[in-house]
């Protein structure tokens, strides 16, 4: 068992509101975890605590043996290179072209040369099927294309783990498929992935583990079959009944 992330008694409050109430979990290398649950359950907050975009109120997040909550800014910046993140609203940099978006971090953070970074960027864009669009601006791409560029951009830093925060929730239905395909290909390369999503089909087909969260607690953890077909908690049963009948 090769632990890449361990979460111990993670709590997160916003003012008086308790969004995460004691989360305990382990993520193993190479696994694909999908996190499902109703809105407001704290799924996104949990994901963002993993790379410390949100600072936990208490508890520990241990990444590759290092406790993240104690680290200084500069040390955390370093570690974030090893964790890629893909956002619901893509967040591509509009003031640069597609290829420049992908090249930015490798050049400015890792110090890669323009040539090296360019080669890497073209390779990744080709992998997501968008090398022809290298010189386009993000604004000229469709949502699905933008998200695939965002995935390529995150991969350019060669991370050990990828975090996806509802990557297809803002997409038109026809484009969801292309992004999920990209993510599936990525999973098959052995990348460790944590995906917050409502796409149950993807969860069933691609995920190694499905985690169900509700009201700030992690209520169910298990294989897709276990969670979908034999949920333990009433809350999960309710949720799945509503989702799966649609």
């Amino acid at each position: 068992m090769n632990k890449i992330i361990e979460v111990k008694h993670l709590k997160k409050n916003y003012g008086d509101k308790e969004v995460l109430k004691d989360i305990n979990a382990v993520i193993e290398k190479g696994k694909v975890i999908t996190v499902i649950g109703p809105s407001g359950s704290g799924k996104s907050t949990f994901l963002r605590c993993l790379n410390l975009l949100e600072k936990p109120t208490s508890g520990q997040v241990i990444f590759e043996g290092t406790e993240l909550t104690d680290l200084k800014e500069e040390e955390m910046d370093q570690l974030r290179q090893k964790m890629g993140m893909v956002f619901q609203s893509f967040n591509l940099f509009p003031n640069m072209s597609v290829i420049e978006n992908v090249k930015l971090a490798p050049m400015k953070v890792k110090g890669m040369s323009d040539q090296e970074a360019g080669d890497l960027a073209h390779e990744l864009l080709a992998k997501v099927g968008l090398d022809d669009f290298a010189d386009h601006t993000p604004a000229s791409l469709s949502g699905g294309q933008q998200q695939r560029v965002a995935i390529a951009r995150a991969l350019a830093m060669q991370p050990d783990m990828m975090l996806f925060d509802e990557p297809t929730s803002a997409l038109d239905p026809e484009m969801v498929g292309e992004v999920l395909k990209t993510m599936q290909d990525l999973a098959q390369t052995g990348m460790t992935m944590v995906v917050v999503t409502h796409e149950m089909g993807f969860a069933r087909k691609v995920a190694d583990e499905v985690w169900f969260m509700a009201d700030g607690y992690l209520l169910e953890q298990g294989s897709p079959d276990q969670v979908f077909d034999h949920p333990q908690s009433d809350r999960a049963k309710d949720f799945l009944a509503k989702i799966l009948e649609a």
Binding site: N51, D77, Q81, M83, G84, F87, N91, V109
Partner: protein
């Protein structure tokens, strides 16, 4: 409860600031020119700096000689003589009459020769030479059309009379207000008073004898009524900072010589009258002769604007970043700077830098003081423009950049700032335009920008409205061109960022 504590702390800090700051500033500003130092300074620098309010013909006024501005008048002749007798060059500094005392006390000028009467009030702050010339009485200047209406001092009862702020006439009106029933109004410039008279804002203007007679001679639409208001007719003397007895002695020596030879009546007054007559002749009155004044003024205006906006930009970036910083001290300093400079009037800031801060830095020229003050002020507004520009960039951009491993600094540099610039640009453009117009405020400390030069033209030509109109047009043309330029660059930026 938390909020209450915050408010209490803020109030305490404010109280502390005032109780500490005010005595400190008081101590600093009472640091006047030291005894016996002015004569030394004059000899060392080889020049005598004379302060005057050159809008007072025939005592001190300006004349256009081949497009250049020359100071002429009775007092100017005296100044030349004093400088000659001291064996140094003469330098004249022109400023508002009621700025003269402060300028003298803070060492910006060596003496005041500006038709100033040595009143008891003034003697509290400065010393005077002996009287060099005494006028006999004051006069009410009225519109000729009202000649029949106003025949004596009594006929002004219940009317409004204007006078130059800080002048003897103003004090006289104030003192006699209750008894005479005359309402009074003060303005800084005589040309503005006369404009007020002509536009009916005041019914008369009270001026000293020489002054009144000069204006009436040169402007046939004016008429005079002798004033019988009680007035200590003491005559004019040269103002000197306290504790300079050697300088006073030297000046008195020159005055004695002049009076012995009756130079005032024989040379100085006739020369002034001649200069006035030339000035008021029709040909000399046309605006085209004064093109160079406006050009000089415009030049200084542009210099001030460009230098100030540069300072403003640099300070703006620094303080915006400080305000956004997580460091509590940096944040607090930035907030204080921004709030204070946005919360006090710019004119007050300019005068404070020149007269106040300028005390500690010897010989800070007015131009530098003006640029510094305006630059500081601009920095506060630019800081807020930049901060709001940065805040308006979507938070997701920062999150994406940080999650790639970019530090906060690199995120600002490569992702946030370039996007913020698009939002900031229109606001910065506005600031630039505003600065161009605000530069006119430094005219109060005597910087030769457009507004100041306009005042000179007004005095030299005895025309009030025309020079103002020309100046307004000039400002408009400048800001119009600037606006077009800024729009062009804004469009270019929008195009390049949405390459489709």
């Amino acid at each position: 409860m938390k909020k209450l504590i915050k408010i209490m702390t803020a109030l305490l800090l404010l109280a502390g600031l005032f109780t500490a700051a005010i005595p400190a500033v008081d101590a600093a500003s009472s640091k006047k020119v030291a005894s016996g130092t002015v004569m030394k300074k004059i000899k060392k620098s080889g020049k005598l700096v004379v302060g005057m309010s050159a809008d007072y013909p025939p005592l001190e006024f300006t004349k256009n000689v081949n497009g250049k501005n020359k100071y002429v008048g009775v007092d100017v002749e005296l100044a030349k003589q004093i400088a000659k007798d001291l064996g140094v060059k003469l330098e004249i500094k022109n400023m508002d009459f009621d700025s003269l005392l402060v300028a003298l006390e803070t060492g910006k000028i060596d003496v005041i020769i500006s038709g100033m009467t040595p009143t008891a009030e003034r003697k509290k702050s400065i010393d005077f030479s002996k009287i060099y010339y005494a006028e006999k009485s004051d006069y009410f200047v009225i519109n000729k059309t009202n000649k029949a209406k106003y025949t004596s001092t009594a006929s002004f009862k219940g009317k409004t009379v204007g006078a130059q702020t800080g002048s003897l006439q103003y004090t006289s009106l104030k003192k006699n207000a209750a008894k005479s029933g005359i309402k009074f109004k003060g303005l800084a410039k005589i040309s503005n008073l006369l404009m007020a008279l002509k536009s009916g804002k005041v019914d008369a203007v009270l001026l000293g004898e020489l002054n009144a007679k000069t204006y009436a001679t040169n402007d046939t639409s004016l008429s005079l009524v002798k004033s019988s208001l009680s007035q200590a007719q003491m005559g004019n003397a040269v103002g000197v900072a306290k504790g300079q007895s050697d300088l006073v002695k030297a000046i008195n020596k020159t005055i004695n010589n002049c009076q012995k030879q009756d130079l005032f009546n024989k040379k100085y007054i006739p020369a002034a009258a001649k200069a006035m007559k030339q000035a008021s002749s029709k040909t000399n009155n046309s605006m085209s002769k004064y093109a160079s004044y406006f050009a000089t003024g415009l030049g200084y205006t542009m210099i001030i604007t460009i230098c100030s906006i540069t300072i403003g930009l640099v300070l703006g970036v620094i303080f915006a970043l400080m305000r956004l910083s997580k460091n509590k001290l940096l944040h607090a300093i930035a907030v204080c700077y921004i709030e204070f400079l946005r919360g006090t009037p710019q004119m007050v800031q300019i005068m404070f830098v020149y007269f106040g801060v300028g005390m500690l830095i010897k010989n800070m020229p007015a131009l530098a003081a003006g640029i510094i003050a305006i630059g500081l002020n601009s920095g506060a507004y630019v800081a807020e423009d930049i901060r709001s520009g940065i805040n308006s960039v979507d938070k997701g951009q920062t999150e994406a950049a940080r999650s790639l491993g970019l530090s906060q600094a690199k995120t600002y540099r490569y992702v946030v700032f370039p996007q913020a610039l698009k939002n900031i640009w229109p606001a910065l453009g506005n600031e630039f335009i505003t600065l161009t117009k605000d530069s006119s405020l430094v005219s109060v400390i005597g910087v030769g920008e457009l507004m100041y030069e306009t005042g000179l033209v007004q005095t030299a030509t005895y025309r009030g409205v025309m020079p103002l109109f020309i100046t307004m047009c000039i400002y408009f043309v400048v800001t119009f061109i600037l606006t077009r330029l800024l729009n062009y660059f804004e469009r270019r930026m929008n195009l390049t960022s949405s390459r489709a």
